[in-house]
Amino acid sequence: MPLARTYSVALIGVNGQVVEVEADIANGLVGMILVGLPDTALREARDRIRAAIVNSGEEWPQRRITVGLSPASLPKRGSWFDLAIAIGILAAAGKVPRAAVAAIMFFGELGLDGRLRPVRGVLPAVAAAMDAGFGRVMVAEQNAAEAVLVPGVRVIAASSLTAAADWLRGLPGPDGGPAAAEFDGSQELSHARATGAQAAIGGEVSGGRAGRVSASDAAMAPDLSELLGQSMARRAAEVCAAGGHHLSLLGPPGAGKTMLAERIPTILPRLDTAAALEVTAIHSVAGTLPPQVSLLTDPPFLAPHHTATKAAIVGGGSGIILPGSASLAHRGVLFLDEAPEFAKDVLDALRQPLEAGEVVVARLGVMTRFPARFTLVLAANPCPCAKMAGPKEGCSCSPATRRRYLGRISGPLLDRVDVKIELEPVGRRELLSDRAFAESSRTVALRVVQARDRAAHRLRGTPWHLNAEVPGSELRRTWSPAPGSLAAVERSLERGQISARGVVKVIRVAWTIADLVGRARPTRDDCDAALGLWLGVRR
């Protein structure tokens, strides 16, 4: 029977679904048809695969070839089905043993000369294959290091269609060794290095999304202690890192807003394996993984430019739907510098991910979900001219302009921000005084990890892990601070310095401060410290 089955994976966002590729060779008009909702890139596969097979020295069956991708109702996009289809045709023609192809997931794009090209999204695809019970995957050599990140998988790294077919046939390669290297996670290091060194991932893949800054760049690793003279701001960053609170920074240019935001990832805990796999999968789909592929264990930091579009921030695009900055910042920091300059609809589009922790992009026939649980850091100048409201020669903004400028950040978005601070320009005296208090990122990160552990322990049995996630109603009902500890806060409320909603935020931040010092419940000291952070903005 001239029918063969191979398997590949269709990606919807960062979720993969195993796709069965059936190749049938029958009598009839010579040609090849592809069925099962292929998109343009996939329909082009027909010509690519024919050229690849012929140029690899294999024989193209001069009969009618039907290739079906099922489930047929699932829209399939992308070029990585090439390998599965080509191997399926060879198996159907009897050139490759059918038994050898059955338990392997194929994932790769073919060049016209038969070379196997690397593609995006290997990590989530391999993870989906593992979940579906495939223990072995075959990918391009350059993708092998990424594929092997999935625990327990055996990876076959082939350089070309010839190598892949020879490996399946059990034939040796041209140099006498195995036609394709097979290895698993235990050999990860040596092979990842070996393949990584030659991994020249195509420019269109690693072109990178604008604004990504690698926090792991050891040569110039930023440190929190460099932010001298801004003790309040450093403390606010620590609180935000520990409680997962979103942060808003207001201040004139040069006060250190960007510097502070860039240093928040250095005090966030390193990602655990599950989180690191999530983050790496998102970056794999977006094609922003560095060539030296390894698991991304540092919290990502993304600072999109304020001209970014909605699709660039929350994800989207036609054809293959790509994650936006909000998802790339998953488990890390999304920094919106000059926040009022962002388009209003872009800012408002962030409300859904802030609420749900994921982005849902709906397109015809498919809903794509990307995780997006990030710490939002907003920075703004007090007014568009950024000269500070001073006497005549200073700020030239009209009152309406100033109001409108900060008013562009909508209320519902600001409602999600628990900590707001103002950075003032630093004087010499403050710089000198602050030397006694500057702590390194390491020291602070240690406290943050402990505080997060305490919060997680306290919140066990609830849907939440971080203080920032606890809703206000729950905070009032279950997690109220010690009696009498809100005296100053209430006095402040009476004086109109703080709103009722502000009180809830102070209590939420007070819990984080209590976690940081290891107290079981916020006391008056913690509430007053939280109030200090809240009143740290002129109004």
């Binding site: 003032e424 005296r429 009498g484 006095r491 004086r495 310095q497 410290a529 002129r538």
Partner: protein
């Protein structure tokens, strides 16, 4: 000036109709109303006939011509004038009208003579005449700095706590801060609008106006539904100045509209006060000018304002505690410092709004007192500077600063933290 009570119904309707026809502050109409009944004036306008003349009104050829022009001006709006039923309808939904001679009409407006409002539209629950009898207008720039907003709020709250009503406009900045301060102290506050009382302008203050109407009054010379216009704010300012016993300018630039209110207050012979600001601040330049050139009194706290107004205002019988439940019980005779109470935070959380239980400096714990001592009297200091000065660590200084800010000892400024005036 008192008019026959029997004709009040007809007179009220006529005055309401006149608010639709003529812009407030029209001297021609003001002069006419001094010699004719409102109903006569209205009938004359409708009939396109010149009403009678009298002293100061059409008794010269030039005056007669001016009256002619005015008549044409008023008749332009005749087609848009609602009928009596429509006017009566406008008085529903919590909106009411008060006219000269009504029990609620504040007699102080009579000082405006020909520029006196024809009638006032009110929305809210407070009694206008009573509220105005002990009131201060707090006005200033829309582009208020943090300092100005803070001072206005504090001043208004302290005045309201001592039973003084606040009168102001409805704009952003100082006006809003003053209203909010008074509302926070559960005092009476009056917003004088330059448009209909049901028209929230600026719209960002719709909620604020709602809160003011619930606790105080939103009033206007313009009929409901009327839109604001640039000149109307200047016309409105004379009412703010006339209603209150005295006027405080908190922050005003060189060309601020608040200076127009100040000019009206000065013209009416009312006490004019100004809160000084940094001499480098353009936002306070107007305040400094009226202190220097117009002899405005420099005030820095509620006690200063009360001291300025009390001898000229109603007698002490109306002092807090001396009369019924209308006033929030004050914290003592005006001018005395806030009474010391128990140490802060010793279990008296939730002791009620406006109770005024401000801890004194002596009640603070040792660390907090040291931190307070380390905050410079002039200018501001950064957090770390204060910590070094007080000899405490960063955690301690942060919680002490929070506590001090919460109790109102200190505040944030553009150079860090600074002492707040008591």
């Amino acid at each position: 000036m008192s008019r026959g009570m029997a004709r009040l119904g007809e007179e009220k309707l006529a005055r309401a109709a006149l608010t639709y026809l003529a812009e407030p502050g029209d001297p021609a109409l003001g002069a006419l109303l001094e010699i004719c009944e409102p109903a006569e004036v209205l009938a004359a306008i409708k009939a396109n006939m010149l009403p009678g003349t009298g002293p100061g009104c059409g008794d010269s050829p030039a005056g007669r011509a001016a009256l002619d022009r005015a008549l044409g001006r008023w008749r332009v709006r005749l087609p848009t004038l609602p009928d009596d039923g429509g006017i009566a309808n406008a008085c529903r939904e919590g909106i009411r009208l008060t006219c000269p001679g009504d029990p609620e009409w504040p007699d102080v407006l009579d000082q405006l003579r020909q520029a006196r409002p024809y009638a006032l539209w009110l929305r809210g629950n407070a009694d206008l005449r009573f509220a105005c009898s002990r009131s201060v207008s707090v006005v200033g720039s829309r582009a208020a700095t943090g300092y100005g907003g803070h001072v206005a709020g504090e001043l208004a709250a302290d005045l309201a706590e001592r039973g003084w009503a606040i009168v102001s406009g409805g704009a952003y900045g100082i006006d809003a801060a003053a209203h909010r301060g008074a509302l926070a102290a559960e005092g009476i506050t009056i917003a004088v609008m330059a448009c209909g009382v049901d028209y929230p302008y600026p719209s960002g203050h719709a909620d604020l106006f709602q809160a003011i109407a619930a606790q105080g009054l939103v009033i206007s010379e313009w009929p409901p539904g009327c839109h604001p216009a640039r000149m109307r704010f200047l016309v409105r300012n004379r009412t703010i100045a006339a209603l209150a016993c005295g006027t405080v300018i908190v922050e005003a630039g060189e060309r601020s509209g608040a200076l127009n209110t100040a000019r009206h207050a000065a013209d009416l012979g009312k006490p004019l006060m100004a809160v000084p600001g940094p001499v480098t601040s353009a936002q306070s330049a107007g305040c400094h000018r009226i202190i220097r050139e117009w002899g405005a009194t420099c005030v820095t706290r509620a006690a200063d304002v009360i001291e300025m107004l009390s001898p000229l205002s109603v007698p002490d019988a109306l002092a807090p505690g001396g009369l019924g439940p209308v006033f929030t019980p004050g914290s003592g005779p005006p001018g005395s410092g806030p009474p010391g109470s128990g140490p802060p935070g010793c279990g008296q959380a939730g002791s009620g709004a406006g109770s005024g239980s401000v801890p004194s400096r002596d009640d603070l714990d040792a660390d907090t007192a040291r931190v307070l001592d380390a905050i410079p009297t002039r200018g501001g200091a950064g957090t770390s500077t204060i910590a070094v000065g007080a000899g405490v660590d960063l955690d301690t200084v942060l919680r002490c600063l929070g506590r001090l800010a919460g109790y109102g000892f200190i505040e944030r400024c553009d150079r860090g933290w600074r002492l707040r005036r008591p």
